[in-house]
């Protein structure tokens, strides 16, 4: 069994749902999923112009892991351009803020407002869930 993926911290999710090519002759093709952490990696390295070590620290991961995510992001964008595919943003292995929980059983993500009685997963009723923060 492979090692569990640590969640990557994303400061702000992408402000788009996707990008579409236009003016091409091909019909609709399978889209490319750009994960939140990949978007964040591109943003930190190429927009905020941080070096990989600084960016990795911000995302709560090691520098080699950051480099892998960054490489995968660049490859996905290149693939989308060359093969005229749509880019869509997908959640991936990221966490955004501490008010979210993730269920161990069914991997549902949810919030627990203070008015809610009973602390269990709303889908499978399991009490085995963690704050997404604890994954780091």
């Amino acid at each position: 069994m492979p090692r569990r993926k640590r969640l990557r911290k994303v400061v702000a999710p992408p402000g788009f749902r996707g990008y579409k090519p236009f003016g091409h002759r091909h019909g609709t093709r399978e889209h490319v999923d750009l994960l939140y952490e990949e978007y964040e990696a591109i943003k930190l390295a190429d927009y905020d112009l941080l070096n990989h070590l600084e960016a990795a620290r911000l995302m709560g991961i090691s520098r080699p892991t950051f480099a892998r995510i960054y490489e995968s992001a660049r490859r996905k964008i290149a693939k989308a351009m060359v093969e005229t595919r749509e880019i869509r943003s997908a959640f991936g292995n990221a966490y955004l803020d501490k008010s979210w929980y993730i269920c161990e059983g069914c991997h549902t993500r949810f919030t627990l407002p203070p008015s809610m009685n009973g602390r269990h997963c709303p889908v499978c009723k399991s009490e085995d869930f963690h704050s997404v923060m604890e994954y780091t």
């Binding site: 999710p13 549902t108 993500r109 949810f110 919030t111 407002p113 809610m116």
Partner: protein
Amino acid sequence: MKTIITSAGNQTDSAFDQRFGRAAWFCLLDEETGQTRFIRNEFADAAQGAGRKVVEKVAELGVNRVISGDFGPKAKELLEQLNIQMVIINDQATTVTDILKKIK
């Protein structure tokens, strides 16, 4: 306790809509009576602010929980303020019936 599930159509076998503000329909489940009813989303084609308007409507209906594929940043903030529980299910192939069965 009332729950809303975003739905692509107005029947319980409709596909689960991954969007919140721009979902086509909402399935309103009343857990006390176990009854469901479908509400058309009049803001699905709104030029802007669909999420915010839908949150206002959801609050008017007295809903405590919304189940969707994702929530926009504005909707998220408002739902949090209104103490409405958000549940994210990232299963594209699921239907409203599947979710209704799971949460029972």
